[in-house]
Structures are given as structure tokens and as C-alpha cells.
């Protein structure tokens, strides 16, 4: 498997961050027309791993994320965070969506402190922490801007800083860069890879962008059409610095992975 996961001192948490087994979700079970969104899904996210889930549009990727966070009740199956059956959102998990969901009445800084405020960190401490975080994430000088005055990329950076402020060990991201232009996306992917790899966090990324999935992850899980099952699992073995998205994209194996995943996605032309 990947080198970083092997290096991690996993002694403090012997169980992997996330184990999903036989997860199933049916919407409207009690009605005449129940919709089965997820048929049967099992996966494991190891320490320090980056795993991407790709699937055809409308296959229930976002539903999956909400199930993992406990924001939706599941029909069957098990979600184990660090080996314990968790109902709600575990403390050590951060969550981020395509929509930045910044609160428009708070400045970038105060958006980042939101989670710390909820956890009752003293104001001086949390402000300092948020300022540092915004600086490392490339928002120096924009701390006191309202979201409406920031560009899309900057807003997504602020959202990432807010997610990181609670120091999650696992990040769950749902198409976090989908709304950004190509350049900004690539820069943010690099930053994300760096943040995750250097601090040995784990990352579960849900995306429809196959190239993003391949360049960023250790493993790519391909889902089928609704109801979603696992169609294929690819261990991505690209022998370059995995925090450099351009290098990954230039690797000869990159195209092979992308092509085979594309063919598995069963892109329907009438969709």
C-alpha cells in the first residue's frame, strides 16, 4: 500500500479512521415509490490515506457523504469511525462541500473561528489560530473581508481553513473544487495534498472529476449508476511526489488510470 500510511504511528488508533460495511440507503421506504440510492457499499479509509469516490452523476455520492456524517439515517449497514459505531459526526472529522457555505455576515476570519467558538475556545486564542491558518492557506491580507468581497477560490480557501480549524484527522470533501476554474483548482489541489500528506491526515474525496481523483488519491473507488455499488477499485501507483498535481498528471500511468476509470463510469449519452 502507500508509504505514508505505513509510516504512521498507528498505535494511538489501531482501528482505521473509517470502515464502512454493506451500507444501504433507501429514500421513502414507507411510501409506494421507494428510491434505492445506495445498494451495497463497503470501503475502508486507512490512516494517512487519500481515497476518492467517483461515480456517474446522480449516483448518490453526496448521499453517501451525509450518511457517513450521520446527517442522514442509514437503511442498513455499518459506519465505524475509529472502530466505534458512531451515530453522529465524530469530533475528529471535518466536512466540506462544493458550496463554501461561509456565513455572509461574518468576515473570513470569523468564519474560520466558527467551529472554535462552538467548542468554547477563548476569543484571543481562536483568533490567533484562525489568523495563522488563513496565512498558511494563502489568505494573508484578506482576514477581515466579507465573503461577498472574495473570489470563488478565496472563498473555498476560507472554507477549507474553517474545516481545518477544528484539527480534524479525517477530511470528508464533497466536490470541494468543482466550482473553480482550472488553474485555481490545481493550486488548491496541490495545497490540499500538501496539507493532508504532511500532517498525515486521512481524506475521503467525493468527486466527478476523474483526473482530480487520480492525481490526488492513493485509491479510487468507482461507483455504478443508482443504486450505487462498487464497480471497481484502483490502487493508484504513480511514482512521483504525490503533493505535485502537475507531476502526477504528466506521469505516463496517469492517462492509463484516467482512461480505464472513464470507461467504467458508463457515461450515458442520453443523460
Amino acid at each position: 500500500m502507500n508509504r505514508i500510511a505505513a509510516n504512521r504511528p498507528a498505535a494511538d488508533f489501531p482501528d482505521p479512521p473509517l470502515v464502512v460495511s454493506n451500507l444501504r440507503k433507501i429514500f421513502g421506504e414507507e411510501t409506494d415509490a421507494p428510491i434505492e440510492v445506495i445498494a451495497d457499499l463497503s470501503l475502508t479509509l486507512g490512516h494517512g490515506e487519500i481515497v476518492s469516490i467517483v461515480g456517474p452523476s446522480g449516483c448518490g455520492k453526496s448521499t453517501l457523504l451525509n450518511l457517513l456524517c450521520g446527517l442522514l439515517p442509514r437503511t442498513a449497514g455499518e459506519v465505524l469511525w475509529y472502530g466505534g459505531a458512531s451515530i453522529g459526526m465524530p469530533e475528529r472529522v471535518g466536512y466540506m462541500l462544493q458550496k463554501d457555505l461561509l456565513l455572509p455576515w461574518r468576515t473570513a476570519l470569523r468564519n474560520v473561528t466558527l467551529g472554535l467558538e462552538i467548542h468554547k475556545m477563548p476569543i484571543k486564542e481562536r483568533t490567533e489560530k484562525a489568523r495563522k491558518l488563513l496565512d498558511t492557506i494563502g489568505l494573508t491580507g484578506f482576514h477581515d473581508y466579507y465573503p461577498s468581497a472574495l473570489s470563488g477560490g478565496m472563498r473555498q480557501r476560507a472554507a477549507l481553513a474553517r474545516t481545518l480549524a477544528n484539527e480534524p484527522e479525517v477530511l470528508l470533501l464533497d466536490e470541494p473544487f468543482a466550482a473553480l476554474d482550472f488553474q485555481t483548482k490545481l493550486i488548491l489541489e496541490n495545497d490540499m495534498a500538501h496539507l493532508v500528506r504532511s500532517q498525515r491526515r486521512s481524506l475521503l474525496l467525493i468527486t466527478h472529476d476523474v483526473e482530480e481523483a487520480v492525481s490526488l488519491s492513493d485509491r479510487v473507488i468507482v461507483l455504478t449508476h443508482r443504486p450505487a455499488r462498487i464497480r471497481a477499485i484502483h490502487e493508484i501507483d504513480i511514482d512521483v511526489d504525490r503533493t505535485d498535481m502537475m507531476a502526477a498528471r504528466e506521469s505516463p500511468k496517469f492517462n492509463q488510470y484516467v482512461r480505464s476509470i472513464w470507461s467504467e463510469l458508463e457515461v450515458r449519452h442520453n443523460a
Binding site: C69, L71, M89, L97, L101, L103, G115, P147, G153, N166
Partner: protein, 287 residues
């Protein structure tokens, strides 16, 4: 003109803040200057329309195309305004009505907004009370006037009650609507950050509802005034409604118009103040 230069100067950098276009520097020909000029033009047109209407009215009564007794005339209205100002009635009546309106406006909005927001807490309770709210909201406010006077007397309290009643249901509904229209993803995000229901309410629902609440405030300024005036019509010894009612009963039409002008001015003032407060309390919103 300078627009082409601006286009050339604009850098295609992906991450320049969107705020650059809203530069606070008001250059000649800049967007800010253009809005100012446009606002001035709109205002000038508004004044002209008013002047033409008043002039037509004045001329029509002078040429006896309109009966001056039935329709008054701008000059007669002005005469009464001056007279009311001199005998102090104008100030007293305005103060009385303004007080009734303001008290009713504040009490009604505080009560309505608190209840409306609180209903967010429990879907069950809000479903239970919904028909009652609709029922209350459908009562014509004038139908409540006699009861108000019997319960609260003929003084200030009954008018405040009338103003409150005409405000409270609207405030409740707008606040509730604001609270319920908060993005579910935003609520989920708060939950993933570890927020309790109380946190979500205080840090998300209340500030997110401010837009709707202020829309309600602007709407209910007028409603409060209507409530107060109806109360004064029913039974009173002072206030603008009293002045209108009395002048009307005595067929002094220009005086009715004079009191009406003051009422309109009062409504405009109150709306203006609410707008100012909104700008102060929601600095993040583009106004």
C-alpha cells in the same frame, strides 16, 4: 470613454478579490459617480412629477374645473399646514400619532419576531399553531377597534394595541419564513462543526433571518401607522387620525389633506429610520 481603459487595465488574475470593482474612490465617470448621477436624475424627475400634479390641481381649482370646497387646493392645504403649525396642533398631533405608531411597531415586531423565530425550534408546535396564526392574520384590523377601546380605554393604550395588532402577525410570518428558509446544507455544516441546536439558532438562524425580518419591518411601519390612525378614528381627543376625522366631519377638506400630508411625511420618516438601522445592523449586505 474610460470604460475601455478599465477593461485593458483589468488583470485576468484568478484570485483578485471581487471587491476591486467596488472601489471606494469615486472617480469621474467611474461606476460610483454614474450611480450618483442617476440617483440625482431620478430624484429630479420625482420632484417634477409632484410639481406638475400640484400645479394642475391648483390651476384646476382656480379655473373652477374642480370644486375648491370639495377638493381643496394646494395653496389652501399649505395655509392649513401653516395654521396648524402656529397653533401647535400639528406638533402635538404628530407627536401623539408617532408615539402610538412607534410603540405598536416596536411591541408588535418584537413579539412577532420572537414567536416567529422560536417556532423554528419545533416543527410540531409550528404545525399546531399554524391555523391559529392564519385565523388571526385574516381578521380585518378595523374589526378589532371597538374591542380595543373597550379593553384599553380611549387613550394611548388602545391605539398602541391597535398598532401592535396590525403588526404582530406579519412580523411573525416574515420571521418564521426567514428562519425556515435557511439552507439545509448550512445547518448540516454547523452540525458537523459540533453545534447544538441552540448554537445553530443563535449563530445561524437569527442572523440569516435578518434580511426577511427587515423586509417585515419596512412593511409593518405602514401597518402600525394604519392601526394607530384607525384607533384614533374610533375614539380620541388628539393625533393625526383625530385631526383628519374632525376636519372631515366639518367638511374642511384642505385641512384633511394637510393632516394627510403630515401622516405621509411621518410614514416616510419612520421608513427612512428603519432603512438606516438595517444598513447599520447588516453591513455585509450590498444595499
Amino acid at each position: 470613454m474610460s470604460t475601455s481603459q478599465q477593461h485593458l487595465a483589468a488583470k485576468p488574475a484568478a484570485e483578485t478579490p471581487a471587491a476591486t470593482t467596488a472601489s471606494p474612490v469615486a472617480r469621474r465617470g467611474g461606476p460610483r459617480f454614474r450611480t450618483m448621477r442617476r440617483n440625482a436624475l431620478v430624484f429630479a424627475c420625482q420632484i417634477s412629477v409632484l410639481a406638475v400634479l400640484l400645479l394642475a390641481w391648483e390651476l384646476a381649482t382656480r379655473q373652477s374645473a374642480l370644486n375648491a370646497f370639495l377638493f381643496g387646493s394646494p395653496s389652501a392645504v399649505w395655509g392649513f399646514l401653516v395654521q396648524m403649525w402656529k397653533d401647535g396642533g400639528l406638533l402635538t398631533d404628530t407627536r401623539v400619532t408617532a408615539m402610538e405608531t412607534l410603540l405598536g411597531f416596536v411591541i408588535g415586531n418584537v413579539l412577532g419576531t420572537l414567536i416567529g423565530l422560536a417556532l423554528w425550534y419545533s416543527r410540531f408546535v409550528s404545525q399546531v399553531v399554524q391555523p391559529f396564526i392564519v385565523a388571526l392574520g385574516s381578521i380585518p384590523i378595523i374589526a378589532l377597534a371597538p374591542i380595543c377601546i373597550i379593553w384599553f380605554g380611549t387613550g394611548l393604550a388602545s391605539k398602541v394595541a391597535m398598532a401592535t395588532l396590525s403588526v404582530v402577525v406579519v412580523a411573525l410570518i416574515t420571521a418564521y419564513k426567514g428562519a425556515m428558509s435557511v439552507d439545509i446544507d448550512q445547518i448540516n455544516l454547523m452540525r458537523t462543526l459540533g453545534a447544538s441546536k441552540r448554537h445553530i439558532f443563535r449563530k445561524l438562524i437569527v442572523p440569516a433571518s435578518l434580511g426577511d425580518i427587515f423586509a417585515g419591518l419596512k412593511l409593518t411601519v405602514g401597518f402600525a401607522l394604519i392601526g394607530a390612525i384607525i384607533g384614533e378614528f374610533m375614539s380620541s381627543s388628539e393625533g393625526l387620525g383625530h385631526a383628519i376625522f374632525k376636519a372631515g366631519s366639518l367638511y374642511i377638506i384642505p385641512k384633511v389633506f394637510a393632516a394627510l400630508v403630515v401622516t405621509i411625511a411621518l410614514a416616510l420618516c419612520l421608513t427612512y429610520v428603519v432603512g438606516k438601522i438595517e444598513k447599520m445592523l447588516t453591513p455585509w449586505r450590498p444595499h
